[in-house]
Symmetry: C2
Subunit: 329 residues, 2 copies
């Protein structure tokens, strides 16, 4: 595949049928009352209820379905949701999965995610905590086993798989005026932007980003791909990566605006979703909610939009640690 077309996303949707969950959409009258200044209705698509607890399963499963030589297996260097998703997808197809994971990662990969990968039968390989060690680790596995590298977002089949979220969302709520999605590497955002605009050319696609890892915000402003500075820090640990050369061109073309939020805003939004929507989400999944609650620029620009879609991207969080609002407040 040289680029992602809407057709590829529809094909991905067919492949996912019966394997991925059709995730539910929730509304909340209190949220509408508090934050819907012009009778806006907010619709929350809860990918927390996706397999492995995050949207990443869609892309990983689609990538595994499209392997040229599947028997040799797959390899990735993400020990977060993508690693977990790829492990499950590979186990469902009965092929090996190797995950090169960084030793000593206090916040990047909660223990619950590593345990889950092992449960799915993935082979974990530890490496030193730097980019080079991780890339070398992957290269070595590929050389030894012939496994195919499945990048967490800079991969056309992954992007196509994530795009199925938007198709499903618009089937469930056909009159959405916009969809707001968290942006890390941009796989979900780029895939969903292609799908949503193919279905409804008038729909707005917005990105939500932590101010502490604002490569997308700055890239859109400067009109060229800008990366995050070394090791950005945010509680939204799924959004620390920078966009890739396959996601940025799509985002540049299709995304209408990028809005940023502070760490406290992310925590407050996450708390609202736990307390009132009763859904367990991870901090990265709260970023779009935070934009709707707190970003005044967003409110100004969207005041005429009646139906706002928000993607809650996942729910994998280590609950045995103190939850962030228990530390901050």
């Amino acid at each position: 595949m040289q680029r992602v077309e809407f057709e590829e996303i529809l094909k991905a949707k067919q492949k996912l049928k019966g394997f991925a969950n059709v995730t539910p959409v929730f509304t909340n009258s209190t949220f509408n009352k508090l934050y819907g200044e012009n009778n806006t209705n907010f619709h929350f698509k809860a990918e927390s209820f996706q397999k492995v607890g995050a949207f990443k399963f869609r892309g990983a499963f689609n990538a595994v379905e499209n392997l040229e030589n599947s028997s040799k297996g797959v390899v990735t260097h993400s020990s977060g949701n993508h690693g977990q998703a790829l492990s499950l997808a590979a186990s469902m197809k009965n092929i090996p999965c190797y995950v090169v994971e960084i030793r000593l990662v206090p916040c990047n990969a909660p223990k619950v995610k590593k345990d889950a990968m092992k449960d799915y039968g993935a082979i974990l390989i530890e490496c030193e905590p730097n980019l080079r060690a991780r890339e070398e680790g992957c290269a070595e596995i590929i050389k030894k086993t012939g496994a195919e590298l499945i990048h967490p977002y800079n991969n056309f089949h992954v992007i196509s798989g994530q795009g199925t979220i938007a198709v499903e969302f618009l089937e469930q709520v056909s009159n959405l005026d916009c969809i707001i999605l968290p942006i890390g590497g941009g796989g979900m955002l780029s895939g969903c932007s292609i799908a949503a605009k193919a279905i409804n050319p008038n729909i707005k696609i917005f990105a939500a980003e932590p101010a502490n890892a604002d490569d997308c915000y700055r890239s859109k402003k400067e009109g060229k791909l800008v990366k995050n500075e070394n090791a950005p820090r945010s509680i939204a640990d799924g959004l620390l990566t920078s966009m890739g050369d396959r996601t940025w061109p799509i985002i540049m073309r299709n995304v209408d605006d990028v809005f940023i939020v502070s760490e406290t805003e992310i925590i407050d939004a996450m708390y609202f979703v736990f307390e009132r929507l009763k859904i367990v989400i991870e901090p990265s999944a709260a970023v779009g909610v935070a934009v709707c609650m707190f970003n005044s620029e967003f409110k100004k620009k969207t005041s005429c939009l009646k139906n706002v879609g928000i993607v809650l991207s996942g729910g994998n969080i280590d609950l045995k640690k103190n939850l962030p609002w228990q530390i901050v407040h």
Copy 2:
């Protein structure tokens, strides 16, 4: 109404249509694998996603719908989920709601519930923390205002409203072999037992109870209504009350078995639901899950049942306190 017939529950379902949420049913392959010893499938009906975050809205709304003189309003002495539910139901019908609540309740009525009642426009009246003060408080309100007392469970319209859970559940999963429900005062259990057995006379109805507040367990054993000792203590604070004279006869007749679980088992079950099902539940809602996970008597007696329904009764919990597993583990 002199007794609850299935027909009353169907009428309640009609009245609730468009006002109460049809709550979603979840399955979880990990739970099935870990606890479904004979390829059992577990189905979780999540009343966390009901209005006010708990099943109580069904009964309260049905009671308000059936008032003889609604303009004078309603009164209750529950400051928990029922108080919240009645406040919302009354506000939807534009009638006054009085809640007589005990001063100084460290665990019975989390602040979030009180805040919610005020948001719905209820009038809160404080009383001393004993049964007599509470009853006198209610009597005074009734005398002054003519409001009708809506008991949290010992009320036929409330029982009928709660029974709609079982009708809905069996519409969603028609082949359930049993339903397991938490038992406090017994409104939900009695209503659901009538509905479920009217739809399928072969279905088993099981009660799940904290060992620390086991009045139902002992009543079934002794064949007569036995109350909890003074002030039982359990983390499942919605289940501390004893059954009433309107719920017990139904439970005696219709409920096939009662299973009890320990405090640690309740906490572990609650943790599983948060971590793997990604649903915020309160401790009382975890009791049925705990029975399925840990009660060996339950496992023995149900080993031939293939489809087990579990009702997650609500999700109102003060998340700014430490969650119980953060204290215990």
